[in-house]
Assembly symmetry: C2
Homo-oligomer: 432 residues x 2
């Protein structure tokens, strides 16, 4: 499917039909994407999905085949959709930016008709990608500079896995196991072998780990990573060095008490002269397990399930809300689902040292003054103007933005334990 | 992208390269998909993804453009992949079947080369779809026959959302908000309007809910569902009946203390003569909230986040393991990652009443005898033979299978609370 138009909830099109019929469809509106809160106990979120959303927006068109599936719509609505092309403006946080509760991550302005039907697509992309990036950034922070490899494709929907690999890379992971993420986004693909390869080298005489390792080294060179825990790890390490010599690239351990095993394996490798051989660990790692292993000689972490499922928070919980109609702020009046009317932008306040102190969300056309002694940075950038993409997207720049963002947090913002958002969000109302 | 070949972890192709080089690639193997355990405290799982996997398998081919992205492979491996087409056999649990820890949900037999490279694709599909189906079935069970509508697309990756809508429908949901799921799988699409539509009808004089409702009824008829909680719910219900008359199809409540509100709204509707108007509730519902509302006059539940994220278990945690090489059972020896060698099938034992009592997993070629007084059913069916699909796929049949499966559980298997699997799994070894 080349069009993205059907990644849409039916009610968006029935609302469109009703609004076209009574003429309200053409009112000027502003919609905003934001999260009312961070997942339980998280201290910051990381915006991801902007580039994917803009790419999908350009394919959000209704061709004849697509319209043929929408037989519940009246002719006027179908006619509107046949000509649909988003012609409004979009502003938003650059990918890799930190966000907090209430941060207007994306602002979409245009007629009600052209904006309302983007709800599901925008939220699907931002809720998924930002959930992954927000979890991944905690892992990057916990790894303190050690290498992280995303290898969770198998635990996620096959297309979500590709987006997850991109989101993890965006936050600072070194690469992914996923080949489509390499093809589509240039994320470095990494990986060598699994237990199946060792088990394959079983004959009527029994297992033959050494034959498996020799075959792998023969095909992939001594720089490869040998998986040493299929049978006995000590024998595995001995076989690995026997097959590759002391120039062996790395060994991987995928089970057991990793801390203890890593020390044993390091000693064994060093004793065999393989002092440059790196140790890769995997096996249901999450940010807490990564942090626990700080004191052990781990060189690289393979992270699977936890990163692709957002480590307990598989969706960022962002919403897409109508905040302004013909210049009038609007908001639902509902307990626990508070929203603030009016189109908004963000001024992020920091100390001169760079440590951020407050997220000030203000009416789009009236930024508040920056208090003395603080530095204010406007967070949002122009992304689309009159339907044309005006932002540059650059995964390398997004990676630097995440790194800078983590550096800018107050010290307790990097704690893995549950707590309040790292900085407060202050909503500044429209001046009376 | 029409090929699915790159939904693959790099290490599968590097293992393939090494196995082609040492000749082991052509050994006859059996791989199995199974879950070592159910998500924490679940009592059963529901298999979903079989049809999607088989469809993706038919597009698992390496065209020139795809091969061009695999420059880390040697020429022999690329040549093998250029001609790749799965030519082995696949057996598995029909979609909608219940599964338990150790159930061999899918068995893939063929050469190592042709089987090993399917790992990520198979697991991505089964882990995602079965996670959703397993959560959705608990909601279906909790709803006790009341209508469930899946409306979580916005909280999931845009493609995962389509598969999630299919998986929820497969377990007994009435339909989905997702239009692509309707187009692709024929899942009924449902839905009417959101708060944005009511808010849109704001003018300089203030909000005008009645105008919004009149516009919706005018466009969609009195059978529509009006969302009554944008401002005051009592006023909303009054406006709804004023706009549509007592023949109004339904009202939706999306916030607040749903139990209390539903009773109030029912009384109000009945007092206004709208005795046939149904009440739809939504707002972060999960299986527990659905069960809590049993005593209240709810007609329909809109379920979002919880169903598309597997209600706390976003992946089914299934693995794809090599279990047999040239007729020799093989297994990794690792604590907590136990697996059982040899190709396996399942006999599910039930009482004559239909209540299941045990999952007997046995060597593929030697089913054990059925104990006196019990009925034995072989669970797996042939899916692919020599590369050709031989199974029929039918979403309606899968829905009946889930319903039958839930009926077959022992009474405590339907409890929502945490507990042991509803029936034990017994692994029968190869006869000595």
């Amino acid at each position: 499917m080349t069009t993205t138009a059907l990644f849409t909830d039916k009610y968006e099109l029935t609302m469109l039909a009703a609004a076209l019929r009574d003429g309200t469809a053409h009112r000027r509106t502003a919609f905003e994407v934001f999260a009312r809160r961070l997942p339980d106990g998280r201290r910051y979120g990381v915006v991801a999905g902007t580039e994917r959303f803009v790419e999908a927006l350009q394919r959000f068109t209704f061709d004849e085949e697509t319209l043929a599936t929408l037989d519940f719509l009246d002719p006027a609505t179908r006619e509107y959709l046949a000509d649909y092309r988003f012609s409004g403006d979009i502003d938003g946080y650059p990918e890799g930016s930190l966000y907090f509760p209430g941060s207007p991550v994306l602002s979409v302005c245009g007629t009600f008709a052209e904006c309302v039907i983007l709800e599901t697509l925008a939220l699907s992309v931002f809720n998924h990608d930002s959930a992954i990036a927000s979890a991944a950034a905690r892992m990057v922070s916990a790894a303190q500079g050690r290498q992280l490899i995303e290898m969770g494709s198998r635990r996620a929907h096959e297309e979500a896995a590709v987006a997850a690999a991109r989101a993890a890379y965006l936050t600072g992971f070194a690469g992914t196991s996923n080949l489509e993420a390499q093809r589509r986004y240039g994320v470095p693909a990494l990986g060598t072998s699994a237990h199946a390869f060792t088990l394959l080298h079983t004959t009527a005489d029994g297992p033959d780990e050494l034959a498996a390792f020799r075959a792998q080294v023969d095909a992939l060179g001594v720089g490869t990573t040998l998986l040493v825990d299929t049978y006995d790890i000590t024998a595995g390490v001995a076989n690995a060095v026997a097959a590759a010599g002391p120039e062996l690239g790395a060994v991987r351990i995928d089970s057991g008490d990793l801390g203890v095993l890593v020390r044993q394996v390091r000693d064994q490798l060093d004793g065999l002269g393989a002092t440059g051989t790196r140790i890769v660990v995997s096996s249901d790692l999450d940010e807490y397990a990564i942090a626990e292993l700080r004191g052990y000689p781990v060189d690289s972490y393979g992270v699977g399930t936890s990163v692709v499922t957002g480590s307990g928070a598989p969706t960022a919980g962002m919403v897409y809300k109508l905040v302004e109609v013909d210049g009038i702020p609007v908001a639902k009046r509902s307990s626990h689902k508070e929203s603030h009317g009016g189109s908004k932008r963000t001024l992020r306040l920091a100390k001169p040292t760079g440590t951020i102190v407050e997220e000030v969300v203000h009416p789009a056309d009236s930024p508040p003054p920056v208090p003395d002694g603080l530095v204010g940075q406007s967070v949002a950038v122009a992304i689309v103007r009159a339907g044309d993409v005006v932002a540059d997207f650059d995964l390398a720049a997004a990676r630097r933005r995440v790194a800078d963002g983590l550096t800018s947090l107050p010290w307790d913002g990097l704690k893995l334990s549950r707590g309040e958002p790292a900085i407060p969000t202050r909503m500044v109302s429209v001046a009376p």
